[in-house]
């Protein structure tokens, strides 16, 4: 099994989840209110009151077969809006 970690702006979350569902991943989990820093600068929660939001961390546990489809849906979003996506190995407990 694979574990995919996605970190991106909350504002693109809906599009990313659509991509995950389109790739038919068996499930996913989302943590909001993630702050951080990347090539596009720092993201804080200070502007949250304005609707700007912070980042979200999405975890997907899935089979390796799903990765290409996932990459296809998510990579354009990350390229345009920023954010990171990494894959690691995971075994069921």
């Amino acid at each position: 099994m694979k574990r995919v970690d996605l970190i991106l702006s909350e504002r693109e979350l809906d599009a990313v989840i659509q991509a995950i569902e389109a790739a038919q991943a068996p499930g996913y989990s989302v943590m909001k209110h993630v702050t951080g820093k990347g090539p596009h600068g720092a993201v804080s929660e200070a502007m949250d009151f304005s609707g700007l939001g912070a980042n979200a961390h999405v975890i997907v546990f899935c089979e390796a077969e799903i990765l290409p489809k996932l990459r296809e849906g998510i990579q354009p979003l990350l390229d345009y809006y920023g954010g990171v996506a990494y894959v690691s190995e995971a075994e069921p407990l």
């Binding site: 702006s9 600068g41 804080s44 009151f49 609707g51 939001g53």
Partner: protein, 334 residues
């Protein structure tokens, strides 16, 4: 410049709590208002200002000045971004210029509210329809902002993922139905309906929407002070051009607004609110929309100009200054 008016404005709780927030950042106190508490206050303020505007609109009616004033307000929200863009293009690329221009075409509800409380302290009346003008000035600037990007930056490689047709739909949707416009307009309509049909329940809403308002505004401005001060660092990086822009452009917009108010024969209270709408810049609806539609623009630029400089300038010095401008330019009412 009548410094006593500035001083009177300075020594009110909303402005002083704003300063306290700024000070907290400057002395590096760990004071913070954790999310989503600022959201609670911003939702509350929008709901309350909309509801009160609706009540007053019901009482004053949609009389002679209402439509011209609202029309002029919308026109300003379309024109301001255009000339702002031309100025900003002198130093900035198309993406950033468009995003900042949109910001200055739109409005700041909190600045408007602070101006209302200033008018109350001056015992000057104002009308409920000004809240409708507030609500209608938020959206057009967002649309103009995106138009400017498309005209100025027709690079095909930088397209947003997804079908092109959806793009305009998304922008219009975001412009018209973003949460702050939606809640403001919705509460305005509710206030309008309730004032006519259920005066009993208006009474029961007032302790929440009216009595608490001033204190809640003060609390929220404590957070705004913190957030604005955190932007001061960004501003330094933005450079002298943007710093100048974020003070001079509001002044220029205020002047244009005051002249329009004179043409429209607005009473001093309404005139001040109109000027404040022209002079203020959005750090709520517009940045959220720009982040989505023009991600190539640097958020720290458009947020820090609108929030880090124009907003403090307006609530501290701007409002009393614009009051004097209005007093000078407008013919005295017999």
């Amino acid at each position: 410049m009548d410094t006593s008016l500035v001083l009177q404005n300075l020594l009110t709780p909303p402005v002083l709590f704003f300063f306290l927030g700024v000070l907290a950042v400057l002395v590096r106190s760990d004071l913070e208002i954790p999310t989503p508490l600022p959201k609670l206050f911003s939702l509350y303020l929008l709901l309350a200002i909309g509801f009160k505007g609706g009540l007053e609109l019901q009482h004053s009616g949609v009389g002679g000045q209402v439509l011209p004033t609202i029309g002029a307000a919308v026109a300003m929200s379309l024109i301001v971004p255009i000339y702002s863009f031309l100025v900003l293009r002198l130093k900035l690329d198309g993406f950033n210029a468009a995003a900042i221009a949109a910001t200055y075409g739109s409005i700041s509800a909190v600045t408007f509210i602070t101006a209302e409380t200033f008018l109350e302290s001056q015992k000057l009346p104002y009308d409920g329809f000004m809240v409708a003008a507030l609500a209608l000035m938020e959206s057009p600037a967002i649309v103009v902002g995106l138009l400017l990007v498309q005209l100025a930056v027709p690079k095909p490689g930088q397209q947003r993922p997804g079908p092109q047709g959806m793009r305009w739909g998304t922008v219009l949707h975001e412009a018209m139905l973003n949460s702050s416009v939606f809640l403001l307009v919705g509460s305005l309509v509710i206030g309008f309906l309730v004032a006519a049909n259920s005066p009993h329940s208006v009474e029961k809403m007032l302790p929440f929407t009216d009595k608490l308002f001033y204190g809640a505004l003060s609390f929220f401005l404590l957070d705004m002070g913190i957030v604005a001060a955190q932007r001061i660092g960004d501003l330094r990086r933005a450079g002298a051009f943007l710093i100048g822009f974020s003070v001079l452009m509001p002044l220029f917009n205020a002047l244009v607004g005051a002249l329009i108010a004179r043409v429209l024969h607005l009473a001093p209270g309404n005139a001040l609110l109109f000027v404040v709408l022209c002079a203020s810049a959005s750090y709520i609806a517009v940045p959220a929309a720009m982040r989505m539609t023009v991600p190539q623009a640097n958020p720290s630029l458009y947020i820090s100009t609108a929030l880090g400089l124009t907003f403090p300038f307006n609530i501290i010095v701007g409002i009393p200054l614009y009051m004097q401008l209005v007093n000078r330019l407008l013919p005295p009412i017999a």
